[in-house]
């Protein structure tokens, strides 16, 4: 299965993480597994690369973190979306919808030409 380009993965990281966290609070390992499953393996974040992104989002106050003991008895750092993060996700959704509409329009024209 071919993976997506680095640039595309990079650009979509923030909306993807915020979308996942808007549904449920989660921790790094679970986020990586979730993204892998949803994208059918097309997006696979590196184990060590996701955490700096999460910390950057936390610094921007889009998400908040806290330590919690999970059901398995192990300590895990959970992340949840903040109000500011929800607003950011809304803007991201609008932007991606616009891009999606532009590309759909362009490709529809192309196919009709052929």
């Amino acid at each position: 299965m071919e993976k997506l380009s680095k640039e595309l993965i990079g650009a979509s990281t923030i909306p993807i993480i915020l979308s996942i966290l808007s549904k449920n609070e989660s921790y790094g390992y679970e986020i990586i597994q979730n993204v892998k499953k949803i994208s059918n393996g097309k997006i696979e974040y590196g184990d060590g690369t996701l955490y700096p992104v999460l910390h950057k989002l936390e610094k921007k106050e889009l998400i908040a973190s806290y330590w919690k003991i999970s059901d398995s008895g192990r300590k895990r750092k959970y992340y949840k979306i903040s109000d500011k993060g929800k607003k950011e996700l809304f803007t991201e959704k609008e932007n991606w919808t616009v891009i999606n509409q532009i590309i759909s329009k362009l490709w529809k024209i192309e196919t009709s030409l052929i």
Partner: protein, 240 residues
Amino acid sequence: MDSYQSNYIKIMENRNKFNLKHSIDVWKTELSQNSNMTRDNIDELESHLQDEIHELLKLGLSNAESLLIAKNRIGNIEKLTTEYSKVNNEVYFRNTITPYLKGILFFLTYISIAELLPNLSILIAKKIGIHEGYLHLVSIELLILLTFILLVFFYKKYKHGNFNMQKLTNIPVLVSTIIVSKILIYLSTTILLDSVEVSTFGIMGAVLYGYQLLFGLFILTISCIIYYSSRHAHKIKIAK
């Protein structure tokens, strides 16, 4: 044959006694010493490592194999340092500057103790009753003793291959030693000024100055030797 077999079994048993917790602790220590990650970052990565190991163990891999694969997936220290430097600028700066700071503080501590010795030698000489004319000799002896202790200490560290200087370069200890030495220098000088002639301080100052000059020369020589020997070791001869 029996002894050979039992030896073989013992070796295999030892191999299986792989201590996972200890190996994870070693990995965490390496990360904390060599990367720009905070304790919180490392704890978080450890929890990730545990999840990864847990999944690999379920696949039937051994503890050692699971740890190896999980560590590889997370990435090596250099890669993690580069990734985390995007968010941990302050930690990166702090970690880089700390060894230099410790070196400077260690040097300052040594110099402060050396500065205290002339006054100490005057006090000792007065207690024992040595003539003021021989004071500089007592001072020189004390300075030689201090240097000797330091050299023996470093030689022992070098011989045992133990270069862990954490206790010796503990910043609060160094700073408090400098402050205490400076206070003692000030107090002892004010006390001694009443009973000792000013010219004596001049002689002692000259001895100390000479010592500092020699010490500086010693450090310069050591630096040159280390610089050229490390350059020599890193040189790769290109084949014609």
